[in-house]
Symmetry: C2
C-alpha cells in the first residue's frame, strides 16, 4: 500500500471514530435533557409550580427534535460508513435508545400535564410521597443506564435491569394505597386519578431505562437480553462472553 492511501484510510477511520463518538455525545445530551424534564415535572408537582409544569410540557418539542437529529445522523453513518460488528451494534443501539428517550420525554410531559390539572384544581394530592420516592428511583435508573452506555459498563447495566423489578413493586403498592384513598373519599377520585397517571408514567420511565440498559449489553457483548427474565439472566456468562 502506498503512503498516500495509507494516510487516507487512517484519515477516514479517524473521521469515522469521531462520528461514532459524536453519536454517543449527542445521545448523552438527549439523555440529560429528558432527565431534567422528569426532575422538573416532579418538582412542579411537589412545589405546585404551574409555570414550571408548562415549561416542561412545552419543552417536549426539543426532545423530539433531538431524536430526529440523532436518528438522521445514524442513518447517514449507516449509509456512508457501512459499519460492521461492534460499530454497527453501536449505531443500532443509539437508534433504539433515542426511541426510548423520546418516550421518556413523552412521559415527563404527561407528568407535567397531570401536575397542571392538580395545581389548577388546587388539590393537595394524596400519594405525593410515593411520587417523590419512585421518581428518585427511576431517575437514578436512567442516569445509571446512560452512564453504563457512555462507559460500555455491563455491570452497571445489569444493576439497572434488576432495579426495574423493585420499581414495579413500589408502583404496585402505591397504586393499592391510592385506590384505598379513593374508596374512602369519593371526592378525591379526580385528583387521585391524576396522581395514578403520574405514577404510571414513572413506572413506564423505569421500563425505558431498563431497555436502555439492555441495549448496553447488546452493544458491548452482542447479546440481545430483551425479554429475558432478570431472575434467569446468567450474569457470569454475560460478563465472560466475548
Amino acid at each position: 500500500m502506498d503512503i498516500t492511501s495509507d494516510t487516507h484510510s487512517q484519515h477516514i477511520s479517524r473521521q469515522f471514530n469521531q462520528e461514532l463518538e459524536e453519536l454517543k455525545t449527542h445521545l448523552m445530551a438527549m439523555g440529560g435533557l429528558v432527565e431534567q424534564q422528569i426532575q422538573e415535572a416532579v418538582s412542579a408537582l411537589l412545589e405546585g409550580d404551574s409555570r414550571l409544569a408548562e415549561r416542561v410540557r412545552d419543552n417536549d418539542k426539543a426532545v423530539n427534535d433531538m431524536q430526529l437529529k440523532i436518528d438522521d445522523e445514524c442513518t447517514r453513518v449507516l449509509a456512508r460508513r457501512q459499519p460492521a460488528a461492534s460499530d454497527l451494534r453501536l449505531v443500532l443501539a443509539v437508534i433504539r435508545a433515542t426511541s426510548d428517550l423520546e418516550r421518556i420525554g413523552d412521559e415527563a410531559s404527561k407528568i407535567a400535564r397531570n401536575a397542571l390539572s392538580l395545581i389548577e384544581a388546587n388539590q393537595g394530592a394524596k400519594g405525593v410521597v410515593e411520587v417523590r420516592h419512585i421518581s428518585e428511583h427511576v431517575r437514578k435508573m436512567l442516569r445509571d443506564a446512560l452512564t453504563a452506555f457512555a462507559r460500555f459498563d455491563i455491570e452497571l447495566a445489569l444493576e439497572v435491569v434488576h432495579e426495574d423489578d423493585s420499581v414495579d413493586s413500589e408502583y404496585a403498592s402505591a397504586m393499592r394505597s391510592l385506590m384505598t384513598f379513593m374508596m374512602e373519599d369519593p371526592r378525591a377520585i379526580s385528583p387521585v386519578l391524576n396522581v395514578m397517571w403520574i405514577l404510571r408514567a414513572l413506572e413506564r420511565i423505569g421500563d425505558h431505562a431498563n431497555n436502555l440498559a439492555e441495549y448496553v449489553v447488546y452493544l458491548v457483548k452482542g447479546l440481545d437480553i430483551r425479554h429475558v427474565d432478570p431472575e434467569e439472566l446468567d450474569e457470569a456468562a454475560i460478563k465472560r462472553q466475548d
Copy 2:
C-alpha cells in the same frame, strides 16, 4: 464485465431482494399475531372468557420472540448487504416497526390481565361498550398501517395518521364517563379502574399504529414525519415528493 461476474452479481442482487421481501413477510406475520392478540384480549373481556384471557397473556412470549428474530435478520442484512437509500430505509423501518408491534403485544397482554381481574371479581363492567368501540377502531388502524407498509401505500398511511386524533378524543370522552361512574358508585372504583387501564392500553395501541404509518412515509419518501402535527402535514407535498 465478464459474463460470470455479471451472473454472480445478478444472483447476489436476487438473493438480497429476497431477503428484503422476507423481512417484510415476517413483519406482516408479527403484525397479524399482535392484531389477533388484541382481538382475543377484547373478546375475553366481552365474553368473560378467562381461559382465552390467560392464553393471550401467555402468548406474549411468542410476540417477543418474533421481535428478536426479525431484529436479528435486520442486523444480518445490514452487516452483510450494507444497503443504501431505499433499501436501508426499509431495514430501519422494519427495526422501528418491530419495536412498536412488540409494545402493542405488551398492551394486548395488559388488556388480558385486566380482563382476568374483572372476570375473577365477577364484575359486569361499566364502559364495555366504549372498549368494544375503541378496540375496533384501533384494530382497523393497525390493519391499515400494516397494509400500507406491505404496499408502500402513502395515502393509506396518511389516513391512519389522521385517525389517531379521533381515537384520542373517543378515549378522552370514555374516560370522563368512567370517572362519573366512579363518583356515583364508589363500590365500582376497582372494576372501573380495570376498564380505564384497558382503555389506556387501547389508546396506546392507536399511538403505535400511528407510528407504523409514519414509518411508511419514511420508507417510501425518505421523509421523517414523526412529531409533525397531523393538521400541519402538507400531504400534497408528501405525495409529490420523490
